[in-house]
């Protein structure tokens, strides 16, 4: 029982040392103030003790310079911490380009993961070491939260839209994966294991033994795209009743309200499930809603398929 005892969790991602340094820094700063106050209170309480209850304290009412000093100095220190912490925060929320993407769905009480190469797993997540990984996830029912302490990342899974976390594992091993947003009876059972593998092992695992039945995620999406007859309207050359999806992902789209939005995962997801919400300018409101016809995993595969429809040259260029 004592074997696993430690004061700090394992540092297993590039973000972990950053967060830990910040943690130690804030501990030092706040610790200093804590010690000052505790020492002063203790010292004064003993030194100025009056056992009789009859004496009167010194007639001191206050000091404006002191007040200003102990308002402004902590304020500037606080701003310092704020800036430092915000820099770390933006490292946490802003994923680098060219991440390995994994789709995930939280559902009471399990996590399902889908890899682009077609692997699917439950409550287990295999990732390669030394590569930035981005997990895009949503929830099928209530709020959940994907939390991997060893990587120092966490985000709520909100039904109806996508959240994402990213991390670059630095250490091969097995780590906890928790649901950190209360989700009902077996909330504490909604846990899993992250396996950080050597890149070669990961590649072997990802393309391994028949688990990729149904092809890669994009291939499954393509099959679904045909099956749901999306293909009849969304013609590649843009002559159909719906806009062409070629090169759509990541582009700027003008809606019929005049608003311009970026076609990211959440936009694509919303357009599939609530097709009337954001219609592209120049097109009729004719697309049916696919809510109830396609599950979250299907949506993820469709999105991955749409992502794969980048202009061929585009993709190569961005990869270099």
């Amino acid at each position: 029982m004592f074997s696993g005892f430690s004061l700090f969790p394992t540092q297993a991602s590039t973000l972990a040392p950053e967060v830990d340094n910040l943690y130690l820094g804030v501990i030092l700063i706040t610790g200093f103030f804590a010690v000052v106050v505790v020492v002063c209170v203790t010292y004064f309480a003993i030194k100025y003790r009056d056992r009789t209850g009859e004496r009167i304290g010194a007639p001191i009412t206050g000091s404006v310079p002191l007040e200003l000093g102990w308002s402004l100095i902590p304020f500037f220190i606080a701003i310092g911490i704020f800036v430092w912490a915000s820099i770390v925060f933006f490292h946490i929320v802003r994923a680098p380009d060219q991440t390995l993407e994994i789709y995930s769905t939280g559902k009471r009480w399990m996590w399902r993961f889908q890899h682009i190469d077609g692997q699917r797993e439950i409550n287990e997540l295999h990732v390669p070491v030394g590569r930035p990984v981005r997990v895009v996830f949503t929830s099928e029912d209530v709020l959940h939260d994907l939390f991997i302490p060893a990587f120092r990342v966490k985000a709520d899974a909100v039904p109806g839209r996508y959240s994402a976390i990213w991390f670059e594992p630095t250490r091969i091993g097995e780590y906890h994966l928790f649901c950190a947003e209360y989700c009902g009876t077996r909330h504490s059972g909604m846990i899993g294991t992250v396996y950080v593998m050597a890149a070669a092992d990961y590649q072997a695992w990802a393309s391994g033994g028949g688990a990729t039945e149904g092809g890669t995620l994009a291939q499954r999406g393509e099959a679904l795209f045909t099956q749901l007859a999306c293909v009849t309207c969304h013609l590649p050359d843009g002559s159909g009743r719906g806009p062409s999806l070629l090169g759509l992902y990541g582009s700027q789209v003008t809606l019929d309200s005049g608003e311009v939005v970026t076609a990211d995962e959440s936009y694509l997801r919303e357009s599939i499930l609530m097709s009337q919400a954001k219609t592209v300018k120049g097109y009729e409101h004719v697309m049916p809603t696919f809510q109830g016809l396609v599950n979250e995993e299907g949506v993820a595969s469709l999105i991955e398929y749409i992502k794969s429809l980048q202009a061929a040259g585009n993709r190569v260029a961005s990869a270099q």
Partner: protein, 130 residues
């Protein structure tokens, strides 16, 4: 008791103004002002509410404390609206970095398996229970 007594004519004038504003707001709603329809409707409503507060509710003749209290209500209402909308309106600004690659297209798997200066340790730590 020192309450302000307004003449009847004041109340009738205010009532007339409120009626006029009601008609104005309906008429304005039927004119296509583009995105301005909502702000116009809101402005008229705020104007009407101000009239009621000032004259029907006698704030015009009230103490500065009462005025302060009314101001406080709308100040905090404003805080609630603006700070919440600061979230909703800026959500779209943040777009995540792009690019997804499959495992098969990992550019180089022969390169050094390290990140930064940290050498990889092969010993798994913090193993969860099996």
């Amino acid at each position: 008791m020192a309450g302000h007594i307004s003449p009847k004519s004041t109340y009738l004038t205010i009532f007339g103004a409120l009626m006029a504003c009601t008609i104005l707001t309906v008429v304005a709603a039927f004119i296509n002002l583009g995105n301005l329809n909502f702000p116009v409707a809101l402005t008229i409503a705020i104007f009407k509410a101000t009239l009621v507060v000032l004259f029907f509710m006698h704030i015009k003749y009230g103490s500065s404390l009462t005025k302060l209290i009314v101001g406080t209500a709308f100040f905090f209402l404003g805080i609630m609206l603006t700070l919440t909308l600061s979230d909703y309106l800026s959500r779209g600004w943040f777009t995540a970095a792009r690019g997804s690659t499959s495992a098969a297209s990992i550019p180089s798997i022969t390169g050094p398996l390290t990140t930064g200066a940290r050498p990889l340790e092969q010993t798994p730590q913090n193993n969860p229970p099996k």
